[in-house]
Amino acid sequence: MYHRRNLKTDNSITGLLPALISLALFIISNIFWGFHVGFRVLAVMIAIYSLFQFRAYHRVRNLTYLVSAIYLSTFALFLIFAPITKSGLDKNNFTSLNKFLGFIMLSLLVWLVYLMFTRKVKWKGREVFELAAMSVKDASNGFTERPYPTGKINYSRRDLFDFASFLRYNQIALPFYEENKIAFVPIKMGQEFKFLYTNNFDYKDSSWVLFDYEGNVTVHISKKDYLDYKENLSFDQLCESMGNLFKEFLELFIKGEEVRIIDRLDSLKISIFN
């Protein structure tokens, strides 16, 4: 089924920056100091990225980040212990350790590719915004910074906490826990870094859907996310729709039909890279 896209195309290269930086440093080091230094520089860079992935895993508690972090750590160790000659890696002189690390690394890479193509790696904020826009018929603009109260529903605190873990684990929205409420921030692919790596990140300027412990649901859509739509959608309808979408997700989750949530998001078939 074809869905008309409401969001602009994402041409951002933010997600590729770490790889591009590493490649550039690797090439520069090779030119000036040869392969021996080049591979070690690459190893240090990858080790740093693995630390970031461990940090992300600590925040999201998602298998993808753990696999990615271990893969990068193994990759870094492989490069550190690999025999290197003036012409590059000396494959003929690999030790048992090198072979073991290489085997682990390739296995994890295969696992990661599998996770990527089954959309487990993807942050699904883009899908959330697309779904929210689907039921908006008018294009009358009307953006405001004010949050939009979308009514009240019944749920227990336990349900809400479990729902938060579900959305976080499946990279649909990142929960921010406060004294008597939880705010869910849908994160688009490539925009996750500031949320994962900033200490005490203030989500208030982002788009969020907030559930308090009394059942009130409130929506805020940031100007940046609103302008990411191709048209000036009617803002109150968009907020209402976003609130209804999350309420529906929560109801499905409480009924034990969380797979339907994933199905709805995946049915949009948005590229795994954005």
Binding site: N141, G142, T144, E145, R146, K204, T218, F235, C239
Partner: protein, 199 residues
């Protein structure tokens, strides 16, 4: 006494020389501003302004006299007691007859350029900031809202939504009717600043 007269009286009576001037007026049958100024070692303009203000409030009597072709005024005390009695009843008129204003249909104005701060519990707006003027004259006007006003603003229809009457919004926001006057006040202010619009 209306607010304007009370403000004049309050302003002059609070001067540290007010008692000395009244003592002088009580001592003399009548006195000119220059005589009083020289007696108290004050500037004549200061005394003149004081006497004129008291005369405008009918506390002093004023008689024009001619001496060497140049007229001047002599002032005398007309009262032995000054009372400040301000009627606040007119200010309650809006509260006693709010029906008309409650039925006004409003919503947030499109591209109003206002910034809203949400309270910590996210259930009401705590302040509205609006920039006014242009260039060097540009100024920030911040209005801190009471909780009922904040709840009202929280439920104000969005710029793209249908208009709603003030009373409907109050009902949705669960604002008590006793707070009607402060709600109407903030509606007036925000209409004036172009943050909200009426139908």
């Amino acid at each position: 006494m209306n607010f304007k007269k009370a403000a004049i009286l309050g302003s002059y009576i609070s001067k540290d020389y007010a008692e000395d001037l009244f003592r002088l007026l009580a001592t003399y049958r009548d006195i000119s501003a220059s005589e009083a100024a020289s007696r108290l070692n004050m500037h004549i303009k200061t005394v003149q302004d004081f006497f004129e203000a008291m005369a405008s409030l009918d506390i002093l009597g004023r008689e024009e006299v001619f001496e060497k072709k140049r007229p001047y005024f002599r002032y005398s005390l007309k009262k032995r007691r000054i009372t400040m009695d301000i009627d606040l009843d007119p200010l309650f008129e809006v509260q006693s007859k709010p029906e008309g204003k409650l039925s006004v249909n409003i919503r947030e104005k499109k591209n109003a350029g206002a910034r809203f701060t949400t309270a910590r519990n996210n259930q009401y707006i705590s302040s509205v900031v609006k920039w006014t003027g242009e260039g060097r004259e540009r100024k920030e006007r911040k209005i801190n809202l009471t909780i009922p006003q904040g709840k009202f603003m929280y439920h104000l229809p969005f710029p793209s939504a249908d208009f709603q009457s003030v009373s409907e919004i109050m009902q949705i926001a669960e604002v008590d009717k006793n707070n009607t006057s402060e709600i109407l006040d903030i509606v007036d202010v925000l209409l004036e600043y172009g943050v909200i619009e009426n139908e």
